[in-house]
Subunit: 340 residues, 2 copies
Amino acid sequence: MPELRQDPVAGRWVIVATERTRRPKDFSGHHEHFSEPPVNPFAEGKEELTPPEIYAIREPGSKPNGPGWKVRVVPNKYPVLRIEGSLEKEGDGLYDHISGIGAHEVVIETPNYNVQLEEQPLEGVASVVETYRIRMTDLLKDTRFRYIIVFKNFGRDAGATLGHPHSQIIAMPVTPKAVKTKLTGALQYYEHKERNIFSDILRQELKDSRRIVYQNGAFVCFCPYASRFPFELCIMPRRQLPDFHKIDSSEVLQLADVMKVSLMKLRRGLNQPQYNYLIHTAPARYPKKDYWSTIEQDYRWHLEITPRLTHIAGFEVGTGFYVNPVPPEDAAHFLRDVEV
Amino acid sequence: MPELRQDPVAGRWVIVATERTRRPKDFSGHHEHFSEPPVNPFAEGKEELTPPEIYAIREPGSKPNGPGWKVRVVPNKYPVLRIEGSLEKEGDGLYDHISGIGAHEVVIETPNYNVQLEEQPLEGVASVVETYRIRMTDLLKDTRFRYIIVFKNFGRDAGATLGHPHSQIIAMPVTPKAVKTKLTGALQYYEHKERNIFSDILRQELKDSRRIVYQNGAFVCFCPYASRFPFELCIMPRRQLPDFHKIDSSEVLQLADVMKVSLMKLRRGLNQPQYNYLIHTAPARYPKKDYWSTIEQDYRWHLEITPRLTHIAGFEVGTGFYVNPVPPEDAAHFLRDVEV
């Protein structure tokens, strides 16, 4: 059983695989040498190579765990958290740990190995977004879960181990420290100014315009003022809404549009860089906490896209203090001009 | 002039190079392709290739900026912050930025390209540690600086761009958010329990013993309970002291010993992995802040060593939530048994 452990000083949680999924000697030879399996487990017609599907968008008449799907969600075969079991919180002297209860799902974005997300037609991207929404809505019914992370790793340096286009969902029994920090920041701004910080950011970005990359009726894509990485992008909804899973069907389509355009600009402008994206959404709302009293007004979900063009240095991980060699104004100017 | 910018929601600072040191088109071809310069600028006899030295440990009679040194500190030729200028804090709508004032120094650890830190004799490692101490003490006299980071990147994936053994020092006009989080955590524990959290951690680790890797009279090296990375190490002093630069000469020698042993265990056990280390020390103590009232009692400097054996996934950077595939108990057991 994996275990969630909390750092007693910094307060952050980590998942520790206590099942010895990787033994020390695995690291003593070549470092993290992954190779693609001989048969692609995400291919259409090879559905038996994954655990049974949780959800799929399928052609009428096609059967679960057979061919005929457009998007398919399956449990991760090597999950970082386990769905079975009860949530046990325990102390160990001054340390705290929680049983590694959670869900770890894979969203197979297309049956086509060679079609990346941004290359799909708009409806294809919208199906992936709608799948995120449906799975998040469903996972939030499990009261053991506090936070759902939807993310994508594209490329090996970005953490992907399989080449077939896919993204991932992790449901976890704690809220990550960095999420709490954002929630607290948004709450403090709201208490101080009685205004929503995300709305103020959007207003200032649109007025300034130097960091805007693309916009449509529902979303604005811009390079954040304090970007940690070259060509970092933030996709911010115009509508005030803390929870990603409450977007409506028109927002699903428009989010698909802004994601497709943004990712295609990165691909064309920067020679198909490796990247990650991550949906920042509000936590589940069970035990009453201070920062949930005004969350409907003060917090807004958003999507962060971070190309992996530079190495992350040790002091950046250790201090959270990043050095970005490309001003976001230059990055946005460059990306605005990339035709898609 | 580089610029420090603060994220308005998360509160973290980033350094943005506004001098266009890297243009967008630099990223559109090969991604971060560095090659070593044809002549090693850190070699003995090539001192004219670096800016004039700030400090050096030299043979008697040898002249500055010539051969005859053991450790040499020079300004970084491509600094992320600039030493010249005054500290200007400014708002830009809801954003805050500060002029990129700071210092960025390189500690050349040895004249020998092929001798890594852990391969040096004990006195050589001690000279490097003593150099860190002397430079930090000196930089703290500049009242523009709030925090000094001492760190080392070994290997290209860890952020190093030159192969000659070196470490780096950055003096910055703000305290990194992650440092503040640790300070706050330590303060809260102290206020709640009237005990030092680092002292309690050390007591529990020594009693438990499963995560201990090595110890001497002044330091304990262990795999932290909530390790983010496989084989992550923490070197903790036994003596309560918030500031690294106040270690005494016996601690310099004993720190050199524990660093040499720990790094050699990583090297032999894990086939010379890439790694980073970072000294966590207390901030400079000018403007009075709440968390400085009891800092002498509640905070303790320490050194973090993080081997880079796995890729850092995007959601880990975005949420601060790491997945560690090797339990620290197993990592420590493995490293204890590596003979050095």
